[in-house]
Amino acid sequence: MEALLFYLVALVAVLSAFFVTKCRNTVNSALCLVTTFLCLAVYYVMLEAPFMAAIQIMVYAGAIMVLIVFVIMLLNIGSVGKSVYRHGLIWATGLGFLIFLIAAKFIAGGTVTKKVGTVTSEVVKDYGHTELIGTAMFTEFLLPFEIASILLLVAIVGAVILSKRKV
C-alpha cells in the first residue's frame, strides 16, 4: 500500500516537473510546479515530518508561487511564440542525464548507515514533530535563525528598492 502510494505520487511529481520545462504558457508551468510541491508535501507526511509538509504547502505552494504568478500576470507574458527552447536541446538533455547518472552512482555506491540519532518514530509520536523542530531551532540553531530573519529583512528592502521606478 505504501509502495503503491509512493510510485503513484512519484509518477505525478516527475510528470508535472517535466511539464514545468515543457509548457508553452508560463502560467501552466507555474501550476505544474504547484503540483510538484504538493507531491513533495505528501512525501514529507510519509517521512513523518508533518510540520515540514505544512510549511511546504504554506510557504512554497502558497507564498512563493503566488509571488511568481503575480509577476507573470503583472508582466502579461502569456504564451510565447514558436521557439520555447534555446539552442542546445540535445546537449542539455545529455547533461541532465549525466547529472542523474552521477547522483545514482553515488546513491548506489554509498552505504547509508543505520539509525544513529535519537529521533525515532516513537519520539516523534510522543513529543510531536513541531515541538522537536522548535526545540532544535531555538536552542541549537538560534544564531542561524536570527541570521535568517536579517536575511529576510534585507531581501524585503532590496526588493522594494529594485522595483522602484527611479533607481
Partner: protein, 100 residues
C-alpha cells in the same frame, strides 16, 4: 517496502529535470521556477536522510533553505521586473549588456 534509496533516486530525477529546464528554456521566470524545483529535490533528500538517520538537523536545514528560497524569490522577481521595464522582454537572450 520503501527505503531511503527510493526517495534519493526520485530526488535525483527531479534535480536532473530541473537542470534540463534551466539549460534549455528561454523564459527567465521558467528558469527561475526550475531552480525552485532543484531546491525542492534537495529538500526531499535532506528530509529522507534526516528520517533515516534519526537526526533532526536535516529538517532544520530544509527550513533555512526555504528561507533563502523566499528571499531569492523576492529579490529575483524584483530584478526581473526591473529588467522588463528596460527591455520589454524577459528572454535570457536579451540579457546581453555585458557581452562583447
Amino acid at each position: 517496502m520503501i527505503s531511503v534509496y527510493h526517495y534519493m533516486i526520485l530526488a535525483a530525477i527531479l534535480f536532473a529535470i530541473g537542470t534540463f529546464g534551466v539549460l534549455t528554456r528561454k523564459n527567465t521566470i521558467v528558469i527561475f521556477m526550475c531552480i525552485e524545483l532543484m531546491l525542492n529535490s534537495v529538500n526531499l533528500t535532506f528530509i529522507a536522510l534526516s528520517r533515516h538517520l534519526g537526526n533532526m538537523d536535516g529538517q532544520i536545514f530544509v527550513f533555512f533553505v526555504m528561507t533563502v528560497a523566499a528571499a531569492e524569490a523576492a529579490v529575483g522577481l524584483a530584478l526581473i521586473i526591473a529588467f522588463y521595464r528596460n527591455k520589454e522582454s524577459i528572454d535570457v537572450d536579451d540579457f546581453n549588456l555585458l557581452k562583447w
